[in-house]
């Protein structure tokens, strides 16, 4: 049933991830709402504390849902692989990682921004009651950084889940908590925007390296556009994904035999993880 649902949502993955983010938001709002209604509305400190609790709980729930849907997807992909003729599924977990991040990020960003945008159309003055006048600008930047971060976290998270590197998962959760926590400094924007952007740069580099990128690739891409990237990449890249994809000798540690088929090169997505290497054979099973 879970597999069925995951299969159902495969055709429109971005929407599926948006839906899961929405469900997590719903549940965390429900908890916050219950706690607020059960508490004294005049106690400012308590309300603030409940808000902080609500935010943290929401972050944890989002990550939990990310993990949950990852599990469903894994099952679905295994099902698809079992069904298909050549042992390769039409979707790859790597693509799903990216889509997961984009889906979460887009939904989170839209929910944060859309009411602001609607209000920005109307007549009004920003910060007329003494609040910050940069409200819209900083909201825009914060939303952008959050969308990017979600994208990178998706990649990191899935990589950690695939290769049983729990510290990657923990790192994602801690980063998310840190970014959300830093927004408590608002309107002291130095305390929230700057750390968030630094974290984003870190996450970006990390995700890039995990996807098989390297400084050489980057240089080659930027400087030597006429050179063909195909065939010149590093076959034994640092990332575990490459091993899976190209049927290399190195099977990532911790991956059971049954999962190797997940790394089959999917049809038509050569080089999705950045190396652009030609696939030896589509059905490379070890």
């Amino acid at each position: 049933m879970g597999t069925g649902m995951a299969l159902a949502l495969v055709p429109a993955p971005v929407l599926a991830w948006a839906f899961f983010w929405l469900v997590s938001l719903l549940l965390s709002s429900l908890i916050w709402f219950i706690t607020v209604k059960a508490s004294d509305p005049r106690d400012e400190l308590l309300q603030k504390g409940l808000l902080i609790f609500g935010v943290m709980f929401s972050v944890l729930l989002q990550e939990a849902f990310r993990f949950l849907y990852y599990k469903l997807l894994r099952k679905a992909i295994e099902g698809l692989v079992a069904l298909s003729e050549d042992g390769c599924s039409p979707i790859s977990i790597q693509q799903m990682a990216y889509v997961a991040g984009v889906g979460f990020g887009l939904m989170s960003g839209t929910f944060s921004m859309i009411n602001l945008l609607a209000d920005a159309l109307g007549p009004g003055t920003t910060g007329i009651h003494g609040d910050s006048q940069l409200y819209f600008l900083t909201s825009a930047f914060m939303t952008m950084v959050l969308i990017f971060l979600h994208t990178f976290w998706g990649i990191l998270f899935f990589h950690g889940c695939e290769h049983r590197r729990w510290w990657e998962i923990i790192a994602v959760v801690i980063m998310h908590l840190a970014v959300s926590g830093s927004t408590f400094c608002n309107p002291l924007y130095m305390g929230s925007l700057v750390p968030s952007y630094l974290l984003m740069a870190t996450a970006a580099t990390w995700a890039y390296l995990l996807s098989g990128g390297s400084a050489q690739n980057l240089r080659r891409f930027l400087l030597c556009k006429s050179c063909s990237v195909i065939g010149t990449g590093d076959p034994v890249g640092s990332s575990g994904y490459l091993d899976q994809c190209w049927g290399g000798e190195r099977v990532p540690r911790g991956l059971e035999q049954g999962h190797h088929s997940l790394g089959c090169q999917t049809r038509g997505d050569a080089g999705v993880w950045g190396h652009g290497q030609v696939v030896a054979s589509p059905g490379g099973s070890e």
């Binding site: 055709p11 429109a12 719903l26 944060s112 927004t183």
Partner: protein, 458 residues
């Protein structure tokens, strides 16, 4: 209802068409063939006419639901291939339906948010006679339930009437009915809509220009929908009339009645399509017995329809000119969504693709499409439009309903691929939509507002 389109002349002899073509094809075809046969077996035809809810005159109401019954599933030995094909086409079908549903919803939400007319209370339909202006909550609830009962009974009566008409072969009557309802939609409602939009943006338009615009719009619409026309234009017209109908519902249905009606319609949809004695199911089965396509009315189809003749080499030479077929020639349509609404759509007319027909596989790929009843469009848009109109100016609620409906549609399409028979498209989506509307409006909105006021991000 959601149906697959399948282009075979008769249920009993798809083998013959294909075997006659098979000999000329590559050996890889047979296995593909089996998969196709198995999938096509699941197709069910179901029409469902939608009722035209109008406050103007009940005579113009075209209400009816036609459903196509499913073609009995052919046993396929290559289940794996069938599954894979199902999934592959399932993915395509999902995307093919997402776009029109999204477009319809966007049109409705954009109109609701900008044109004041559709959110003003200006009376009610005669089908919802009880007013909701009562002070007590209990009275209001009772009134909305009564309104729902009346509305649903009218829909049931119309559907049964249509099924009877179809059973006793009163085709002309049905055609006339559908033509009248689409005339009203294309001319009268468009005129009102255009008038209100011009009023909102304070644009002046003289009557001769208005007459020209409305006349051309309406005439081309009638031709496209009831006769022949390019597929995209036909789809665009169907989306527009669904949006117009949804706007009428949003304007004239009182608040609580609208929500209760949405819930009741989903339940009715479920029963009408799945119960053995349901009117839609009977309609589908009747059409199947007679081996004719059910009314090409009120159905949005997402892909091209081919006749067997397309397989001939001569046809490959034809350019992308308009190809039209009579309704009778069209292949079996499979699942269709029963939905209430008033729009008619003839069998898909589609332009011939330019590339020559090289293999049966390519042919077959083009054939497969999915049909969604226009009533489903209408009720999805009513839900999202009502969310946009009444959710305290909150865009999050609208967005949440939108995502919920699309996910419901996705799940329904998966069930369609699994069960391969006509399925109601309303229940899952509307349930998700309603759940998300009420929970987002009451739970998420305060949370997000509090976060936004402190500029916190989650």
């Amino acid at each position: 209802m959601i149906t697959f389109m399948n282009n075979s002349d008769s249920e009993e002899e798809p083998c013959n068409e294909r075997t006659s073509l098979m000999s000329a094809e590559s050996p890889s075809v047979p296995s593909y063939q089996d998969g196709l046969q198995a999938s096509e077996a699941g197709e069910a035809q179901a029409h469902r006419k939608r009722r035209t809810g109008s406050s103007r005159s009940p005579n113009n109401i075209a209400d009816g639901e036609m459903s196509e019954s499913g073609v009995p599933v052919r046993e396929s030995t290559l289940e794996n291939e069938e599954e894979e094909l199902t999934l592959k086409y399932g993915a395509k079908h999902v995307i093919m339906l997402f776009v029109p549903v999204t477009l319809c919803m966007i049109v409705v939400v954009a109109t609701i948010k900008s044109v004041r007319f559709y959110t003003e209370k200006n009376g009610q339909l005669i089908y919802t006679p009880f007013s909701e202006d009562t002070p007590s909550v209990g009275q209001r609830l009772l009134n909305s339930v009564l309104n729902t009962i009346i509305m649903i009974s009218v829909i049931v009566v119309m559907t049964v009437f249509l099924v009877l008409l179809y059973k006793y072969r009163c085709y002309k009557f049905i055609h006339g009915w559908l033509i009248l309802s689409s005339l009203m939609l294309l001319f009268l409602f468009t005129y009102i809509y255009l008038g209100e939009v011009l009023k909102t943006y304070n644009v002046a338009m003289d009557y001769p220009t208005l007459f020209l615009v409305i006349w051309n719009f309406g005439a081309v619409g009638m031709i496209c929908i009831h006769w022949k026309g390019p597929l995209q234009l036909q789809q665009a017209y169907l989306i527009m009339i669904s949006a117009l109908m949804a706007l009428v519902f949003i304007k004239y249905l009182p608040e609580w009645s609208a929500w209760v009606i949405l819930g009741a319609i989903s339940i009715y949809d479920l029963m009408a399509v799945l119960c053995p004695k349901g009117p839609l199911r009977m309609l589908v089965e009747t059409a199947q017995e007679r081996n004719e396509p059910i009314f090409p009315a009120l159905i949005y189809s997402s892909a091209m329809m081919w006749t067997v003749g397309m397989a001939k080499p001569d046809t490959a030479a034809r350019g992308p000119s308009q190809q039209t077929w009579d309704a009778a020639e069209d292949g079996r349509e499979n699942h269709r969504s029963p939905s209430h609404g008033d729009s008619q759509m003839s069998e898909t007319r589609s332009p011939v693709p330019t590339r020559p027909i090289t293999s049966l596989e390519e042919l077959e790929e083009e054939e497969r499409g999915v049909k969604l009843g226009l009533g489903d469009f209408i009720f999805y848009s009513v839900l999202v439009g009502k969310a946009a109109a009444t959710a305290s100016g909150d865009w999050n609620t609208t967005l949440a309903c939108f995502v919920a409906i699309l996910i419901g549609l996705c799940l329904t399409l998966l069930l369609l691929a699994v069960f391969k028979k006509a399925l109601p498209a309303l229940p899952i989506s509307i349930t998700f939509g309603l759940v998300f509307y009420f929970s987002t409006d009451n739970l998420v909105r305060p949370f997000m507002d509090t976060l936004a006021s402190h500029q916190l991000y989650i």
